[in-house]
Symmetry: C2
Subunit: 321 residues, 2 copies
């Protein structure tokens, strides 16, 4: 069972360490954290919930992997703005009968990833709860007025993604089918990596709009189209589908944490950015009333593509039972 709250906080505080960013003036141990934002920069803030049996299952995901995945969600949002992460905050609800080892492994997975990107765990909250609930808050910064928004896509821009698509969803499908998987560090489903370096490069090199692929390509591209008031065409044949996946999973599968972005037609993008493959997959068009997103098949035929990625309170392709 779990340590009493005060002891648990002291333990996490020790684990978080003093390896603070220059920007952390005061971390765990006061009513609020105190952070310094670099001159000429704006503050970025994102929050993401991870709830047991919604975002993960204890039977499928080792605690270390849950902690890792939890922080990735926030770091990936910072990456999608082209930002630099600074500090994270963890609000954690835990069943009192949970083994302390589970909590230690969870924190370990989270802090391991945090350290690799020089992010400090600077605060949070702890409570008892019936199921594990973790809300991760990540703060970051970007040069003033330079963060890459969802709203900057213009007709004629080309659409790109980093990495491969559908691999995470393919593993989720196997888990849903009852298959046992022992997570490998290279598994996108279990240990996804936030594309922070690529995101910063893209901010510096003129990406017009950007989002991270957390809900699925069809849903996340719909967010860009809605905020930019544009439509889009995707070429099925161009999608970088992961070896274990298929077209449907590449289009609608979530939790990839790759970057989906747009850039002017004349922009010359290298085939790899920060060592990650970049693929052109379609183009932005003027807003159309008939269909926000269309999919072009190998014969050149267009059909409307509805957002069918993850949506809470709604059935979706990958809704767990």
């Amino acid at each position: 069972v779990i340590l009493p709250e005060k002891k648990l906080i002291d333990r996490i505080r020790r684990q978080a360490g003093r390896r603070a960013n220059a920007g952390i003036f005061r971390g765990i141990g006061d009513d609020t954290a105190i952070l310094e934002i670099t001159k000429g920069h704006q503050l970025l803030v994102t929050t993401d919930l991870c709830i047991e049996d919604v975002h993960f299952r204890r039977a499928w995901h080792p605690a270390r992997c849950v902690g890792h995945r939890c922080l990735v969600r926030g770091l990936s949002d910072i990456a999608a703005m082209g930002g630099e992460p600074v500090a994270c905050f963890l609000s954690l609800g835990l069943p009192s009968q949970l083994p302390q080892k589970w909590v230690d492994d969870f924190i370990h997975g989270l802090l391991n990833l945090a350290r690799s990107f020089h992010v400090t765990l600077a605060g949070g909250d702890i409570s008892s709860s019936e199921k594990v609930v973790a809300d991760i808050v990540v703060t970051g910064q970007a040069p003033s007025g330079r963060a890459v928004l969802r709203s900057g896509a213009r007709a004629g821009d080309r659409i790109y993604v980093t990495g491969e698509l559908g691999g995470s969803a393919a593993q989720l499908q196997k888990l849903l089918a009852g298959e046992k998987i022992t997570p490998k560090p290279s598994d996108r489903h279990f240990y996804p990596q936030p594309r922070l370096e690529a995101g910063q490069w893209l901010r510096q090199h003129g990406a017009t709009a950007m989002i991270d692929l957390s809900d699925g390509l069809s849903t996340d591209l719909d967010h860009i189209c809605a905020e930019s008031r544009v439509s889009a065409v995707i070429d099925a044949a161009k999608l970088p589908i992961a070896r274990n996946a298929n077209l449907a999973l590449a289009l609608h599968g979530g939790e990839e944490y790759e970057l989906l972005f747009t850039a002017p037609k004349k922009a010359k993008l290298p085939p790899k950015i920060a060592d990650i493959r970049v693929t052109e997959i379609g183009e932005v068009q003027k807003r159309s009333q008939s269909a926000t997103i269309q999919l072009r098949d190998q014969h050149g035929h267009l059909r409307p593509l509805k957002p069918q990625g993850w949506q809470h309170f709604h059935k979706s392709l990958l809704t767990p039972a």
Copy 2:
């Protein structure tokens, strides 16, 4: 039942409105919010969980009151630093069978309080969950190096509290005993007020350490003593006990959201700050090995006072069944 996620977010986005602070560059609708921190100021960040049947019960607390109480926790932390709140973020887990009216009332209660302190709801996350889970994040700012920490209390300082003590816990006791209470706007338990103006005044007028009373006087004073490496003596006779409360509730009852602070002996504090009564209740002493906090009774006798306020994963005076 609840709206699909996208519609729910659109609805909350409309409710949150554009009434943005000058500091909000981008609110709901992108991967992260973008905020501007005033020049010469540092960023304050706090997160607080509110979990159904731990922090509130749907049978006791109307949804509006749950939303209000949820945000108060974060605003009160900003108050305890002497800071000015800027934006809030809400991560919300909701059972899909919850009536949409409950969610509307919750958001209404939260936004009502937010507006009265010019705080913008600038982002968050939404998920399904078995019970209602709300994590509130509040960002704020304070002039660089001037936020009032828990660690600044010095031997000889006097200890003060704002307002009255034990009133919130007394109402909780009645609820636990099965009494029905129809919340009145003036009820500290149902509609506590964050002491933001008083906190800022105290920062400007030399408070040496400060914390908000969320867990209970004995526990929160213990936090100040631990961070400041001092001991403390409290005078039972001086405590401003609420009319409906008693000494035990004033010492250990949580959720008061009053400010507990220290100031040099020679500081002249007015009897009221920002219209809230201020009471001297004890003094800071050099760190003692025998007892961190002592209580002086009406006969002048000292006895050790253990922290007995709220602690998760631990039985306490007021643990709900």
